[in-house]
């Protein structure tokens, strides 16, 4: 359950500033790495690095690509798998920079890993069969996915179980139907709430609050859209009648989540193209020269993963996976 999960312990942060700081730090870390490895100038300098805003634009662009890929996936991918993949993607780029690991591959690796973890059985060939490329291109993509898989697991700190808000939403609908009889047809809330949750996966909401809170916000939001107030639900059924303080805090939190959703902007395609070019240049220039150490293979070369990392990874997975 979420309340004793690794997601609550390690991957829920206090506010957006914490997240910004982490992303800024990974950006700095990459720059320092390149500087430290003795950069060859070739006409490139500080300005050729991406700044956090540009990284964010690219991140959102590739996130949309990930969600599209999952939406067009054959066989139909369950929502929890999509949510898990998006969460992996988001968590990975909290501690790593897009300049270091290209989001194109990481996005596929996240989806692949999410299928495995959520027990949505898809063979690797079926998986790459969904890519719009030739058979050879698909093979190459699969190779790259398999290379980056261990790196992804390591950067997720082996915390692979992700709690998505979809089941809590179901739980709320059931609870509304059972106990909150003032509302005649809670089913009508489902569609807008679902839509709300899909938009929430594209924000940092999953890293800031518990999935049940996101689901409750979705329900209340869709109710207010339909012109129904559900304050009494909170007070009566959830037992917050007497606990004013918690009630206030909850309402505050839900407002924050709604703001997060409102703030979300579609990435501008011109900007995206510009930053993409920059990104490609960085990958071509810098990523080859950085000594790979034990943080996984560099993007361009196909190197076999170190055996010891593989062995340790799988041992640790058994211990940490189920929490």
């Amino acid at each position: 359950m979420y309340h004793n999960s690794s997601q609550k312990k390690f991957w829920t942060f206090e506010n957006e500033e914490c997240l910004e700081k982490l992303r800024f730090q990974s950006n700095q870390k990459f720059r320092a790495k390149v500087r430290g490895s003795g950069k060859e100038l070739k006409g490139l300098d500080e300005s050729s690095f991406l700044n956090p805003f540009e990284e964010d634009v690219l991140f959102r662009h590739y996130e949309r690509r990930l969600l599209e890929f999952c939406a067009n996936f054959k066989p139909v991918m369950p929502k929890s798998v999509v949510g898990t993949a998006a969460m992996y993607f988001r968590r990975f780029y909290l501690h790593n920079s897009v300049m270091e690991y290209h989001p194109r591959i990481i996005m596929l690796t996240c989806a692949y890993l999410a299928c495995k973890v959520d027990e949505f059985n898809v063979s690797s060939s079926q998986f790459v069969g969904n890519l719009p490329e030739t058979a050879a291109g698909q093979e190459k993509a699969l190779e790259q996915i398999l290379e980056y898989e261990l790196l992804l697991i390591q950067q997720l700190n082996f915390h692979l179980v992700v709690h998505n808000p979809y089941r809590p939403l179901e739980g709320f609908l059931i609870d509304l139907k059972t106990r909150y009889t003032t509302l005649e047809n809670p089913e009508m809330l489902r569609k807008t709430a679902d839509d709300f949750l899909n938009r929430a996966t594209m924000t940092d909401a999953g890293l800031l609050c518990s999935p049940s809170q996101i689901a409750l916000t979705a329900v209340l939001n869709s109710a207010s859209r339909a012109g129904i107030t559900m304050e009494s639900y909170l007070a009566e059924c959830l037992g917050l009648k007497d606990d004013k303080e918690t009630l206030c805090k909850m309402i505050d939190l839900m407002r924050r989540i709604k703001n997060l959703l409102k703030k979300y902007e579609l990435p501008n395609s011109d900007e995206v193209n510009m930053y993409k070019q920059k990104l490609e240049r960085i990958h071509a220039e810098f990523v080859n020269t950085i000594p790979t150490g034990n943080t996984g293979p560099s993007f361009m070369e196909i190197m076999p993963s170190p055996q010891s990392l593989a062995a340790e990874t799988f041992k640790a997975m058994h211990h940490h996976c189920r929490s």
Binding site: R167, I174, T178, S212, G239, D252
Partner: protein, 315 residues
């Protein structure tokens, strides 16, 4: 070790197996290939010939009865015996453990090469060279070995003699005791015949003597009694029959496990039906029930997830 099936091992030439001929004996030669006794007699009637499988020239006298399932093992055992006759240094001959280990490694390498026919010429040369260099040490160790063996034999002999003696002694003791008893009886009869004392007195005397003899025998047996029981408790130690002291400890109290969910209370699983939750989940099909699934499971899980950490707000 897996027991060899009677049907497995067979002579490669005549294909007779132990199953068909239980008294069949397989013989191994220096090349490592096996032949049954009858084939050996047939092929090596002239005393020497070539191996059937590898064509190496062999002598009949070199055939030994196979002790191991795998003929290669027999071959290696033979080779090892020969090598160790030359390489017979001991751990005391070396100044450090490492050198002794290196020496042992050397020996193993030689045995391995000879067994697997790797570089046989070279290996034989090395052996000869070693033999020449260490001739005196080899001799000394041989002598030592024979001395040790003799010492061992002497010890064994002594032990045997000791046990023999003890056996004889006990036998003699018994004989003596029997004799003494007989004498006593005889003495009684004689006295009854010849003595002037009344019969009852004689009988009493006899009884006394018999009793004395018995105690003597007992005493002799007593000496042999062991001082400890087989469990190690010394004989004669008093085992107190007092009750063991009662250890006072805190009684265990059961506290049901409480996990903080940071949210409203979830209805109990058993109450879901009564409270009406189950009306709003999809009913179970008969196929699902067979596997142990019930709609309450999904319902409970969904509600638990909905309420988990609902009131948790960051500071």
């Amino acid at each position: 070790m897996v027991a060899a099936n009677m049907d497995d091992q067979g002579c490669p030439r005549c294909k007779t197996t132990k199953y068909r001929n239980p008294s069949l004996k397989l013989m191994v030669n220096v090349c490592g290939h096996t032949l049954c006794e009858s084939c050996v007699d047939m092929l090596f009637v002239r005393g020497s010939g070539n191996c059937v499988q590898c064509d190496t020239p062999l002598r009949k006298s070199n055939f030994r009865v196979q002790l191991f399932e795998d003929p290669a093992v027999d071959k290696e055992v033979e080779i090892r015996k020969k090598v160790l006759k030359i390489y017979n240094k001991r751990d005391t001959d070396f100044p450090s453990l490492k050198e002794y280990n290196d020496y042992l490694e050397q020996v193993e390498d030689i045995v391995f090469s000879l067994t697997n026919n790797i570089d046989v010429e070279n290996t034989k040369r090395i052996m000869e060279q070693y033999q020449r260099e260490n001739r005196d040490i080899i001799q000394r160790n041989k002598a030592r070995l024979t001395r040790e063996q003799e010492e061992l034999e002497e010890l064994l002999l002594l032990e045997q003699q000791g046990s023999e003696q003890r056996r004889l002694e006990t036998l003699q003791e018994e004989q003596r005791q029997l004799l003494a008893k007989k004498k006593n009886k005889q003495a009684l009869l004689d006295e009854l015949e010849s003595s002037h004392l009344p019969a009852t007195l004689l009988l009493a005397q006899h009884k006394n003597r018999a009793a004395q003899l018995d105690t003597q025998i007992e005493m002799q047996r007593q000496i042999v009694k062991p001082p400890v029981f087989s469990t190690g408790i010394p004989v004669g130690q008093t085992i107190s029959l007092q009750p063991v002291a009662h250890l006072q400890e805190a009684l265990y109290r059961y506290h049901p496990l409480h996990i903080e969910t940071y949210g409203p209370q979830v209805p109990e699983f058993e109450q879901l039906g009564r409270l009406g939750y189950l009306n709003h989940v999809r009913a179970t099909l008969p196929q699902d029930v067979a596997g142990g699934y019930s709609s309450g499971l999904a319902c409970h899980r969904a509600v638990q997830d909905a309420f988990s950490a609902l009131f948790l707000v960051p500071h």
